[in-house]
């Protein structure tokens, strides 16, 4: 379930009646009871949290996992030994009226032995750690390069032209990183404002995206599917809402996705609501949001100028928005819950097709999308408050409240649905 702060109760009721009946707290209580019941089924990990770090789905994460499992085991064993020793001492040497013991000050031989043993254990651990550190840092066998730019509070991905993947023009997208399976993908991370951290637990550890620097992170997924992740370097107000998803597609599906991303822009048919939405978009949204190929009524290309309106100089590129499953920095799903679960839980063989189907009107999470268009800062904490713009020369940070009328929102939603 996702963040819901709709101002319209009837909409809420229509879409998530069953969930809203229970408060989050009571729901958690129910869950707690089921969880206690599930202690028996400890082994079944399929229902663990989306960002479980112990379920590697790619070779990099597996490397880490293979390293850390024995270490956890060793640590556990040492812990048990210590507990046992302390417990024994507590039980055995409790004051039962025995005389005051001899005032011995220690046994150096024992001390040294007990110092050397942990040192040896750690030395062994160190050797393996060393190897994995350098293995993870390898970049010379990269197959696909993607530039990742962090910004408060979303991620921008751009794919440099790489003919072997059919990428002849640069592709720019946000929210969801789409990558082929079984491919060594190298992310070149940087940031436009503060430090963020890119983390898809199932695929690799995290790596900070630092402004002014380019850091690399290698991802490789074994199976098609969606892998959840989250920004893990505290980055301000909506740090909690800065999520991301890595979408692994089979190589064929990836080719399809690439082709679709590079397809020419299709303007909505004249007279439709969507066409009116396009003009609303041209009036309002295009100030910051680029839709590649979108033309103004006079035939000129509409070029967004976020650098003139947004402090960090960029806003998400909305070309083919409906091929993504999330919006607003992956804070919200574009898919309604049912459709979303359908995609997320799909078998790996079917996943590609389901993902590439994109978002249609029936599946659109219109509730959150409309709330977002109505007043973005209200549903996502941002510094879009004009009172706080003094330090940014009046430029916005995050999406401001556009003051759109309900009919404009209708039109925009209709238009956005055509972007796929």
């Amino acid at each position: 379930m996702n963040h819901r702060r709709s101002t319209e109760p009837h909409v809420t009721r229509r879409f998530s009646l069953s969930r809203m009946r229970r408060t989050p707290l009571s729901r958690a209580m129910v869950r707690a009871t089921t969880a206690v019941g599930a202690v028996v089924g400890l082994g079944s990990c399929a229902t663990n949290a989306a960002q479980d770090t112990w379920q590697p789905k790619g070779p990099n994460a597996k490397m880490i996992d293979d390293l850390q499992q024995p270490i956890f085991a060793v640590a556990g064993i040492i812990g048990i030994i210590v507990f046992a020793a302390v417990s024994y001492a507590i039980w055995r040497f409790k004051d039962r009226g025995q005389p005051i013991p001899e005032q011995t000050h220690g046994k150096p031989a024992l001390e040294i032995t007990l110092t050397v043993i942990p040192a040896l254990i750690l030395a062994v651990v160190g050797v393996f750690t060393f190897r994995v550190i350098f293995d993870l840092a390898k970049t010379d066998d990269t197959e696909l390069v993607i530039n990742v730019t962090g910004q408060q509070w979303w991620w921008e991905y751009d794919y440099p032209a790489q003919n072997e993947w059919g990428i002849t023009q640069p592709i720019i997208t946000s929210g969801q990183l789409v990558m082929p399976v079984g491919t060594k993908v190298l992310l070149r991370e940087t940031s436009r404002d503060v430090i963020h951290s890119y983390w898809i637990p199932a695929l690799n550890g995290k790596r900070d995206a630092v402004p002014g620097r380019i850091h690399t992170l290698r991802l490789e997924a074994d199976e098609p599917g969606i892998y959840a992740g989250q920004c893990t370097e505290f980055c301000g107000l909506s740090h909690a809402n800065m999520r991301m998803e890595a979408v692994a597609l089979s190589k064929e599906d990836f080719a399809t996705w690439v082709a679709n991303q590079q397809a020419a822009y299709q303007s909505p048919a004249e007279g439709t609501l969507a066409k009116e939405g396009e003009s609303v978009f041209l009036n309002q949204c295009v100030r910051c949001h680029q839709v590649d190929g979108l033309k103004r009524p006079d035939g000129s290309l509409a070029i967004a100028a976020p650098d003139e309106n947004v402090w960090s100089g960029a806003a998400p590129n909305l070309t083919n928005l409906m091929t993504r499953n999330t919006f607003a920095g992956a804070m919200f799903d574009l898919l309604r819950d049912a459709c979303r679960d359908d995609v997320w839980n799909a078998e790996s063989a079917e996943f590609g097709a389901k993902y590439l189907a994109g978002v249609d009107e029936a599946c659109l999470n219109v509730n959150d999308l409309r709330a977002w268009l109505r007043n973005a800062p209200e549903v996502k904490p941002m510094y879009a408050n004009p009172a706080l713009l003094a330090d940014t020369n009046g430029k916005y940070r995050g999406m401001p409240n556009l003051g759109l009328s309900e009919s404009d929102i209708d039109k925009l939603v209709a238009y956005l649905l055509t972007l796929k």
């Binding site: 996702n2 958690a28 005032q103 160190g126 983390w199 637990p201 893990t232 505290f234």
Partner: protein, 671 residues
């Protein structure tokens, strides 16, 4: 009071009642204000330079901030008990976790350790005061001023919201437009003065003012650990001060130290911060190690096992602690070589830490264990710190750390280290030393409640966080969403709820401690002179100690001198035989009491000087003229201070000087 005139030797003395001080009238003054003379009432606290009073004030201040920080923690847990928490908004939540950490680290654990150190370090080494008593007072007031400045931001548009690590550039004025970060940076700079002056003061005290016969290797282990901490502070605080200074300049004067567009590298801040920040961890935890290294032998009736190993492992932690800061930055993109080096260094530091745990366990081994509350907390520390230490080892492995860092696993780890380690040690110290400080024993029954509720609450709060972290819940999120909570046993919802419930139990535990304080304070029962059958010098004086600590400075022959004055080993059976009671030992000391004792005099200047600093801070934030006013206050205080001799001349003590003793200082400290 500066000179204590004692009756001639041979007169019997009631231990608890020091002779009441004669009225003092300063005959002349060099400064602008005459010396304060009050020996009772609030003035005697405000202007005191007595290390014991200052220690108590440190403690009281720290406890106050502990409650504040604890309430902040409870609010955080309430917010996170359920998904989409609505208790706090994002902005307030960010302030809350920033201030929780800041308060707990800088305003609770550090001052509390400083409090214990202030009170007991001179007692443990047989000194009458610290080396620089007025600087000591100044340090305390700086800490208080700093704490107030940091928290003042709550009332001036919001507290700091960048996390206690305050990473650049997120701490810049653009990303944190309120003045919270300004207050934070300036407040911590002021509080840092306390640490720095305290460090110098205690180091000099330890090096110069030990009782005759007390070699370094006969020094109580608590004093040893505090000494190591002071060296850490001495080198670490300047680093953070520089960083904070840069931050203040960045924010208040448009400097470009962390401005990426101007060519700066934001990692500079991280390096500066963690070069301070990692030794800081040991600064927080080593005093508690010292405390339980005192408590365990006392209640095991056995000396500390491998005293030299504990000392040197403490020192080793102090040294190696400087070479591991970058393990906080494994995900920052340092490059594999740096990561590998720091990974190994971090593993290396586990060895001396392990040595300590082994030695504590072996101290208990073969002993005669008495489970008072203090002992329970000490044993609790061994167990809980071991858990924290082992989880620490798991992320010394850098690749593993890249999965765990900035998740709740880390939160769990360092709370086991800092709550299970530092705070349990502090509580152990409370129960152990309360009779010494106040002459009354804390209630053991309530203490038991306190301990068990805290152990359970602590494990319920922070234990689940291991799971949360490994399930991928990042830190510093004002909300978590059900969409990624998962189902099954390891779902985030359940464990978040457990952690929140645990925090309530933990709060209850602390509440029992506060109740215990009140109950004890109202009780009329006075503590015996040596309630625990203790071993070190601080117990070789009255409860609470007299103003001048010792009637005569003891000569030290053993580690655990006090114990060895009470017990002797039967050479044939190798069993210990009591040869003297504590009262007898004390009476022996009093027989040879020093006649004239010169104690440092109270002074206005430390508090006036410290009071100028928040004014400067406010001025830097709001208006430079105000800063100038603050500067003038400080200048005035510096003058007053410089012009005032540390110890009032004998002529200031009219009563005593009239009876013919014109002040020959005996074994006293001046500073």
């Amino acid at each position: 009071m500066a000179i204590i005139e004692r009756p001639a030797p041979g007169t019997t003395l009631v231990p608890a009642l020091a002779p009441s001080a004669p009225a003092i009238t300063p005959a002349r003054t060099f400064g602008a204000l005459r010396r304060p003379v009050a020996t009772t009432g609030w003035k005697s606290w405000l202007f005191t330079v007595d290390h014991k009073k200052l220690g108590l004030m440190y403690g009281a201040t720290a406890l106050f901030f502990f409650i504040i920080g604890g309430l902040e923690a409870v609010l955080i847990r309430l917010q996170l008990a359920a998904p989409e928490g609505k208790v706090l908004n994002a902005d307030l939540y960010n302030q809350m976790f920033t201030m929780h950490a800041t308060t707990m680290v800088f305003l609770f654990v550090m001052p509390m350790a400083a409090g214990f150190a202030n009170y007991f370090l001179p007692l443990q080494i047989g000194a009458r005061d610290v080396a620089f008593p007025r600087i000591n007072a100044f340090g305390f007031w700086c800490l208080l001023a700093g704490g107030i400045v940091v928290n003042l931001a709550w009332f001036f548009g919001g507290a700091a919201d960048g996390g206690w690590f305050m990473y650049a550039p997120n701490s810049g004025p653009v990303f944190s437009p309120s003045h919270g970060v300004d207050f934070w940076a300036l407040g911590l700079q002021i509080a840092g003065i306390a640490s720095l002056t305290g460090a110098i003061n205690l180091i000099v005290t330890v090096l110069n003012m030990r009782a005759p016969g007390m070699t370094l290797m006969k020094m109580p282990i608590f004093t040893w650990m505090i000494t190591v901490v002071q060296f850490l502070l001495l080198f670490a605080v300047p680093v953070i001060t520089v960083a904070l200074f840069l931050l203040t300049f960045q924010r208040s004067f448009d400097a470009k130290f962390f401005d990426v567009a101007a060519g700066a590298d934001p990692l500079l801040w991280q390096h500066l911060f963690w070069i301070f920040g990692h030794p800081e961890v040991y600064i927080l935890v080593l005093p508690s190690f010292g405390i339980i290294s005192e408590v365990l032998p006392v209640f095991s009736r056995k000396p500390l096992f491998g005293y030299p190993f504990v000392v040197f492992s403490g020192a080793a932690i102090g040294f190696v602690g400087w070479g591991v800061w970058a393990h906080h930055m494994f995900a920052s993109g340092l490059g594999p070589v740096s990561v590998a080096v720091f990974s190994l260094a971090t593993m290396a530091i586990a060895v001396p830490t392990g040595v300590k745990i082994i030695n504590w366990t072996l101290t208990m081994w073969g002993g005669k264990l008495v489970f008072t509350t203090a002992m329970k907390f000490a044993v609790g520390l061994i167990i809980l710190f071991t858990i924290g230490g082992l989880s620490g080892v798991t992320h010394s492995v850098a690749p593993s750390d890249t999965q765990q860092t900035d998740t709740y696993y880390i939160v769990a780890h360092f709370h086991y280290v800092l709550f299970g380690g530092a705070i349990f040690g502090i509580f152990s110290g409370f129960y152990y030393w309360w009779p010494k400080m106040f002459g009354k024993m804390l209630n053991e029954r309530l203490g038991s409640w306190n301990f068990w509720l805290m152990v359970i609450g602590m494990n319920l709060t922070f234990g689940p966080m291991h799971i949360l972290g490994l399930q991928g819940q990042p830190r510093r999120m004002y909300q978590w969403t059900e969409a990624r909570a998962g189902e099954g046993f390891f779902n985030l919802g359940f464990w978040n709820l457990i952690a929140s419930i645990g925090s309530i139990i933990l709060t209850l535990g602390v509440l029992f401690f506060l109740i215990n304080i009140v109950v004890t304070a109202r009780s009329k029962v006075r503590a015996p002179l040596d309630p625990w059958n203790a071993r070190s010098l601080e117990w070789m004086t009255s409860n609470p100690p007299k103003e001048h600590n010792f009637d005569s400075i003891p000569h030290v022959n053993h580690l655990d001198e006090f114990f060895h004055r009470k017990y002797e080993e039967d050479p044939t059976t190798h069993t210990m035989r009591e040869v003297a009671t504590a009262e007898q030992v004390l009476a022996e000391l009093e027989k040879n009491a020093d006649a004239h004792i010169h104690m440092p005099s109270p002074s206005y200047w430390p508090i006036v000087l410290a009071a100028g600093m928040p004014v400067v801070a406010l001025g830097v934030i709001y208006s430079i003229p105000v800063a100038i006013v603050g500067g003038l206050i400080m200048l005035y205080a510096i003058y007053g201070w410089a012009l005032e001799p540390a110890t009032a001349p004998a002529i200031d003590h009219d009563e005593s000087s009239s009876n013919g003793h014109n002040g020959h200082a005996v074994g006293a400290s001046h500073g």
